[in-house]
């Protein structure tokens, strides 16, 4: 009974993802994605991952949405006629998606069997200890990625400014 809330939250997450994919306007799609990130952060918090939930909330719902909105604002704005023409094409293309996703979920829920046994759980550890002491290579990789990402953005935007 306690995890029925989690199921409802995961349903909302799936609907938000569908909305992000199917929304006609890009800005609505970006907001749908941000909402999906918020719901995922709540699910993560409820599943005992508060640190990851905070990072999901601040980075995915905040930073990535800001990046998407910046990119969308740099692209040209469409006229109402263009949007209406595109809406007709989009509905034809994406109409089967919610139905297919729902059928897939129902089929998986009814046909597949629950696992009877799983590996024994490891001893519960502190996330800070795991992150800083046991996953140091991951940490190094993340630092390199952040630096490369910052360098890449500088190079990409610099070449655009020169032109």
């Amino acid at each position: 009974m306690t995890w029925s809330i989690d199921i409802v939250l995961m349903m909302i997450l799936a609907v938000a993802a569908l909305w992000a994919v199917m929304a006609t306007r890009l800005i609505h799609a970006a907001l749908g994605l941000a909402f999906a990130s918020v719901v995922l952060a709540v699910v993560m918090f409820r599943l005992g991952s508060p640190y990851a939930a905070v990072i999901e909330l601040s980075v995915c719902a905040g930073l990535i949405t800001a990046i998407f909105i910046s990119v969308i604002s740099l692209a040209k704005h469409e006229s109402v006629a263009e949007i209406e023409a595109r809406m007709k094409r989009r509905w034809k293309k994406y109409a089967p998606l919610p139905v297919a996703a729902a059928i897939l979920g129902i089929v998986l829920a009814t046909l597949a069997r629950h696992p009877r046994s799983m590996p024994q759980p490891l001893a519960e550890a502190d996330v800070r200890r795991v992150f800083w002491h046991f996953r140091q290579v991951d940490l190094l990789g993340q630092i390199i990625l952040v630096l490369v990402g910052a360098f890449g953005i500088v190079v990409l935007f610099k070449s655009w400014r020169k032109k």
Partner: protein
């Protein structure tokens, strides 16, 4: 492991598959570069949900959280670089459609 954790893991697995399906459908069906990025983000959310659910079910949330944080950092890196590339493509071709990017065609 309790039956509740197994049930929750199983339910989360179904939603992970659904999110993967939605993300792949988006990437395959659209021609818009920003929507392709959105599809990629949905895929990343599915993977994050899966990692966290497995961590909860196996009572190993510390490792799951550190892996989820790594996934999020990689996600941000990919989106930031891809966004820069999309803007450059838009400046060159004045379009966000993949149909108009023909210079690399052999």
């Amino acid at each position: 492991m309790s039956a509740v954790s197994l049930d929750l893991l199983w339910t989360a697995g179904i939603f992970v598959v659904m999110l993967l399906f939605i993300g792949f459908y988006c990437i395959l069906a659209t021609r818009n570069l920003i929507r392709i990025l959105i599809g990629l983000e949905v895929l990343a959310k599915a993977i994050t949900l899966g990692v966290v659910a497995v961590g909860y079910a196996t009572r190993n949330t510390a490792l799951a959280q550190s892996l989820a944080i790594t996934i999020i950092i990689v996600e941000v890196f990919v989106v930031a670089i891809a966004a820069g590339i999309v803007i450059n493509i838009y400046r060159h071709h004045d379009s966000l459609s993949t149909d108009n990017i023909e210079k690399l065609k052999g």
